[in-house]
Amino acid sequence: MVRRRRLEPFTLASAVVALVLVAFVLVPVVSMMVEAGAGFLGQALRQNDVRRSLWLTGSSALIATGLVFLCGVPLAYLLARRHFPGKGLVEGLIDLPIVFPHTAAGVALLTVYGRDGVLGRLLAPLGLTFTDSVAGIVVAMMFVSLPYLVDTAREAFALVDPRYEQVARTLGSSPAGAFLRVSLPQAWRGVLAGALLMWGRGISEFGAVAILAYNPKVISVLVFERFEGFGLHSALPPAVLIVIIAFVVFVLLRAFLVPRRRGTGREDDR
């Protein structure tokens, strides 16, 4: 006879507390959908400004993520592997946008990328303006969400034993070769997870984007504008749509990113 395993009181208590937190997130999302009504999806997608805004939000966040990826992955690798003077300062600076009020971040960016800002003035003759432009949206998204990519990628590289690279070096790889052939392939899930987090944070950004580049309107700005101008029911369709899209993308990518654990050569000590 098979005995059923009894749940320990601690596990049971943890599960109850966890359910409270899950409900805390789930209830507003479901409530928003119920409020929007059954036909909200079609209704939202038929509206041109919602479609345009959706595309603008997703693509801007993707560009921002791509640009940070290029510089952020080498930075994450350096932070994971090397000790250098001022490393703590660099780590603190990278994490600063997490604790920065995002409206304040927008103001800070405006002083640099605005019409009178250093880079704003410098790049304007080249046709690159940041106020009320896609470039401004990208810059704002980059600034507020880059810690998510850099920190996650740094943790992923830190989990790769540096001796793998030492072995690769003795087998003929240059430092770059060891990074590309040994460290990155082992850390890529973490790096991609960081990129996904950054993209997700980017599409939800409002404060910094609204101050640096209110127009063209990303979805968060559109929801805000509709809510201010026309009330809750007008703001619901774009709001529900971006939540659904973000949720689906996250679930799919997480399933892809964490499908199975490959052996690290350590845990299976037979």
């Binding site: 793998y164 030492q166 003795t170 087998l171 082992q186 052996g263 845990e267 037979r270």
Partner: protein, 368 residues
Amino acid sequence: MIGLSGLCVRGGRFVVGPVDLQLAAGDYCGLVGPSGAGKTLLLQAVAGVRSPMAGQVLIDGQDLTNTPPEKRGVGLVFQDGLLFPHLSVAGNIGYGLRRRDAASLDGLVRDLGVEDLMKRSPGSLSGGERQRVALARALAPGPRVLLLDEPLSAVDGEAREELRDMLQRATRERGVTVLHVTHDVAEVFSLADTCAVLVDGGLRQVGPPSDVLRRPVDEDVARLFGARNVLRATRQPDGDGRTVLLAGGSPLRVVQRVDAAEVLLVVRPEDVTLALPAGVASVRAVAGAGGVGVADGAMGGASEPNILVGRVERVVSHGGHSLVRVMVPPAIDVSVSSREVASLSLEPGTDVELRFGAQMVWVLPAQG
């Protein structure tokens, strides 16, 4: 050939060196030392993955101190194999090879018994299999020098012996110079031609393993090599310089001439014979005060055994043999077969007689 000249390596606040070591081509050197002695730091400096503070690393006469690891012609194997988990076994072994060289792997793969593992992933291998693959990967590019960091310690039992034999065969056949880091002295005896002993960042002794075993340069080396009895003694006044007195006053004959007032005596537990004292009375009569001493005639020459009488303090079984601690004083550990322990009914309180020749006593300068 490996040559280390005044090599100093830093790891945090710990510094190894200066180390001077010369190994002939094809030599198999066991670098032995307790945990934290700096063995791995030294190995990393030879591999080139850690920059030395000072000194030179020469391989085949070339100064490679500032040469990056990929151009040194060294292979590196760590304790846990560290196979690249995202590559198959074949991918791991072929990592350091150009595509056209892959065919030359057949012999190596066969020698190390990994031909049936080529399509497997590292995660599916046992500890012994992983180490064999790691060894094949390191040897595949044909290195001049193989650096091994505790390569057998993650493997147990027969797999360990099998791996040791493969390691010995594969490196000997290829004429590779090997520097094998270990804290296990038994590994050194089964594999190495030369033994280098590193303690607290300093290279204390280099030589054939049997020399280091029989003639350790200091107490640390002696203890590392299993000499449990390091006894403090004083030179017998007005003697011929070859008799010393133990802490309890018992005289002992030694082969080396003792000039210092105080010395350390190394006596290995397996060099001492233990018996029940059938002739205790006569031994005592010869020994004089204290009930311990040197047998009649022993004062005359090194061939006569030292005889001490004492009482068993404890018996610790290690399976086939036991370590019996006998209080003479001082306390002396003796290795006795477990069968003998039973037949002599040894237990705490049993009076026993210890015998060992003067040539079995190694004299060291007293430290501190």
